[in-house]
Symmetry: C2
Subunit: 392 residues, 2 copies
C-alpha cells in the first residue's frame, strides 16, 4: 500500500548524520522566558533529523533524550564509529521507521551537546555562564523543542517519545501542547520524582560540588571536577541496572590483578563502574549535570492540580511503557500516568515489559519496544483505532 | 521461677555504661594472624558489657555491630545523652534482657571506636597505620571477638546476634566456632554481597579516595577527607531506607529557604542527607570505612564449599530475620542462609518482618524483633525446643 506524500529514505541516509543548530532570540528582542521568570537569549538548540519530511509536513516524530543523552539519537557521524543512543529504534524498518517518519532529536536546554547550557558563552559577560545560567525546568526544555518544531514548519507531530527524563518531556508536551501531537510515548518515567529519586540525584550533585575543582561552577578553562562527576555517574549506573542484571553481568567475578591491595578495584563490577565513570567525564559537563538533575527533581506534572484540567481537550493517544525490574522509575509511577490519563479521558494503553535490565531496559529492550511502538505509531499516524492490549 | 545463678541487674546499671579495653599480642610473641597471612600486634578491642555474668559464666550474649556501629550498643555514657545504637533491644526487660543475660558488644577490628584500626598507632613506625594497616576480613573480626570472650572466661555464648555486617559476623561465628555458641541470630544480612551491594560500597570508597584530603590515606593530623566520607554516608543512607519510608518521611516537602538558587538543598530529603553525611564525619574514620566495606564485600561464607561441611556438628539453633522492604539485603539472601542451614542439618527458624523501613528496619522494628528474639533466646538458654513459626 503506497502512502501519499511519504518519502522513502534509503538505508544510506543513516550513515552520515550531522548535528544541526537552530538559534532563536536575541537580547534586544527578549529571547526565551523561562518558568523562573528569567529570560535567556540567544538560545541555540542542537538537533539531528533522520528520514525525510513529507510535503504535508505530517510525518514528524520527536524523540526526547534522557539525562546523559544528546541530539545524536541514531546513525553515525562521519569519522565516528559509535551510533546514536537509540539507534536500534530509529532507522529504515525500525520502530521509528525513517522510511515513513521524519525523526527529530534535539539536545535539551541546559545540556552540553550543542544546545545552550551552563558551558555556553553568556553574551553579557563573554564568559561561560557557569552558575549564572538560570534555573531551568523540564517545561523550559519543551518550550525550546516547540520553537524548533515551528522553525521546521511542523504544526503537528505524529508522536513525541522518550524514556526516563525523555518521558518527562513527553508528559510536558502532552500538558503544554496537546493539540500539537497526535500521540505520546512516555517510557520508564514519572510525573514527579519520589524522594528516593531526588536523593540519588542529590548525592550525585554533592559529589560534584564536593570536588575542589568544581570551584562554585567556575572551572571552565581549568581542571574539571572530573572525580566528582565520575562518582555521580557511578551512582547513576547502579540505579540504572537491577540486582538481577548486575548478578548476570558481573556476579562476584574478580579481576586478574597482581597489584598490592590498596583499594584498587578487585571485583569486575568495580572496574566497570570506574570505567563508565571516567568515560562520562570526557563527554559531559558537570554543571549541566547539576542543572538537568535539578530540573528532573523539580518536575511535578500535576503539582496539586487534577489531571482533568491538564490534559482536557487532547485527542492525542498515549502509550505508557514500564519495565518490571526498573526500581529507579518503578512501574507504579507509570501506572499513575495511566490513571491520570484515564481520569482526563485520554485514550491510553499501558504495557509493562518483563525485563531484568532495570531502568536501562528502555535502551536495551528494543525488540519488545519496537513491536509495541511500531504498531502504536502506525495507528496514530493513519488514524486507526487504538486498542490497548495491555490496558489497565 | 527463680533461675539459678542469674544475677539481676538493676535498671540503674544501664545509666552509666563505660567502654573498656582488652589488648592482646605483642610484636615479639606474634599477635593475631590474619586471613591475609599478615600479623598484627598488639590488638586492642574496645567493648562494653551490660548486665552481670553469672557464676557459671553461662549467660553471655555477644552483640555484633554493623558498618557504622561501635561497642556502645546500649545505655548512656556519663555526660552523654545519646543511648547506644541498639538500646531499644538491650536492657532490663528488653529482648536482650540484662536481668537475665550478660550482654557484650565490641568494636570490630579495623574500626575507629577504640579497637585497633587504620587510625591506630603502628608500633613499627610510631605513626598511624593508615594504608599500612593490613587487609582484614569478617573472620578476622570474629577471631578478635573470640579472644575477648576467652579473656572474659566465657566458654560458650547463649547467642551471637547482629544485623547487616553484624549478621555476617554471626555467620562467621557459626562457621568458625560452632561449639562455642548455643544460638545465632543473623538479621538482615547475607552470606555474600551481590554485585549491587559491592557497587554501592565501591562508589562510597571512590567518593573518599577522590577527596584530595584523603592523600592515599595519610590525612591524620591534617584536614580530613570529610566531603568524600559525607558523600559515602549519604549513598549509604539512601540504601538503608526504602522508597516507601522515604515517601512517608519526606514526600516532596521543600525546605523554607530564601537563599538564591545555587544548588542548595531545596527538598527536605536533601537537607536530611547532607546533615547525616556531615554528622558522620565527626565520628567516623574514612580509612576505617574503606577497610570495613572491603571486608564486607570480600566476605563469602561458603566460597564454593557446600554448607554441609561448614556447619556440620553444630547444635546451635539459628533464627534468621529479614525485612520485606529491605532492598539492600533482600529477603532472598536471608532465605539462602536458611537453605544452607537446612542442608547442613542445622535447626533454623526464619521470620520475614513486614516493615516499610528498608534495611534500617533491623534498628527500628525493635518491638517485633523483641517478640521474636526474647522467645527464641529463652528457648536457647533453657534448652527448650525451638519450633520455627515461620519456618521455610
Amino acid at each position: 500500500m503506497e502512502k501519499k506524500g511519504v518519502l522513502k529514505a534509503g538505508a544510506g541516509s543513516m550513515e552520515a548524520v550531522k548535528t544541526q543548530y537552530f538559534t532563536f532570540g536575541d537580547l534586544a528582542t527578549g529571547g526565551l522566558v523561562l518558568d523562573s521568570g528569567e529570560k535567556i537569549a540567544p538560545v541555540t538548540i542542537a538537533y539531528e533529523t533522520y528520514g525525510a519530511l513529507n510535503s504535508e509536513k505530517s510525518n514528524a516524530v520527536l524523540i526526547l533524550h534522557a539525562l546523559s543523552g544528546d541530539a545524536h539519537a541514531a546513525g553515525s557521524h562521519a569519522q565516528e564509529q559509535s551510533p546514536g543512543w537509540w539507534d536500534a529504534m530509529i532507522g529504515p524498518g525500525k520502530a521509528f521507521d525513517t522510511g515513513k517518519y521524519f525523526v527529530i532529536c534535539s539536545n535539551v536546554l541546559g545540556g552540553c551537546g550543542g544546545s545552550t547550557g551552563p558551558s555556553s558563552i553568556n553574551p553579557k559577560t563573554s564568559r561561560a555562564y557557569a552558575l549564572d545560567f538560570p534555573l531551568i525546568t523540564i517545561n523550559d526544555m519543551t518550550r525550546c523543542q516547540k520553537k524548533l518544531i515551528e522553525h521546521l514548519g511542523i504544526e503537528k507531530l505524529v508522536s513525541v517519545a522518550g524514556g526516563s527524563m525523555g518521558g518527562m518531556q513527553v508528559l510536558s508536551w502532552l500538558a503544554m501542547y496537546p493539540s500539537s501531537i497526535k500521540s505520546a510515548i512516555p517510557i520508564a518515567t514519572s510525573m514527579k520524582h519520589s524522594p528516593q529519586q531526588i536523593a540519588f540525584n542529590e548525592v550525585g550533585r554533592q559529589a560534584i560540588i564536593s570536588d575542589p575543582h568544581w570551584k562554585s561552577g567556575n572551572y571552565y578553562g581549568s581542571a574539571l571536577p572530573a572525580k566528582g562527576l565520575a562518582v555521580a555517574r557511578m551512582i547513576g549506573h547502579i540505579t540504572y541496572m537491577s540486582d538481577t542484571s548486575m548478578n548476570e553481568k558481573f556476579g562476584r567475578q574478580k579481576k586478574n590483578t597482581t597489584e598490592p591491595f590498596k583499594f584498587t578495584s578487585d571485583f569486575e563490577v568495580e572496574g566497570y563502574l570506574r570505567y563508565r565513570g571516567d568515560n562520562f567525564v570526557k563527554r559531559f559537563d558537570a554543571n549541566s549535570y547539576l542543572y538537568i538533575t535539578k530540573a528532573m527533581d523539580n518536575f511535578d506534572l500535576l503539582e496539586g492540580k487534577g489531571p482533568e484540567g491538564l490534559f482536557r481537550g487532547t485527542d492525542a493517544r498515549v502509550l505508557v511503557i514500564a519495565f518490571k525490574s526498573d526500581w529507579l522509575y518503578p512501574a507504579y509511577q507509570s501506572k499513575d500516568i495511566v490513571k491520570a490519563c484515564k481520569r482526563a479521558g485520554v485514550q491510553v494503553s499501558y504495557c509493562e515489559i518483563n525485563s531484568t535490565y532495570g531502568h536501562d531496559a528502555f535502551l536495551l529492550e528494543t525488540e519488545e519496544e519496537t513491536r509495541l511502538i511500531s504498531h502504536f505509531l502506525k495507528k496514530a499516524f493513519y488514524d486507526y483505532e487504538v486498542t490497548g492490549r495491555y490496558e489497565v
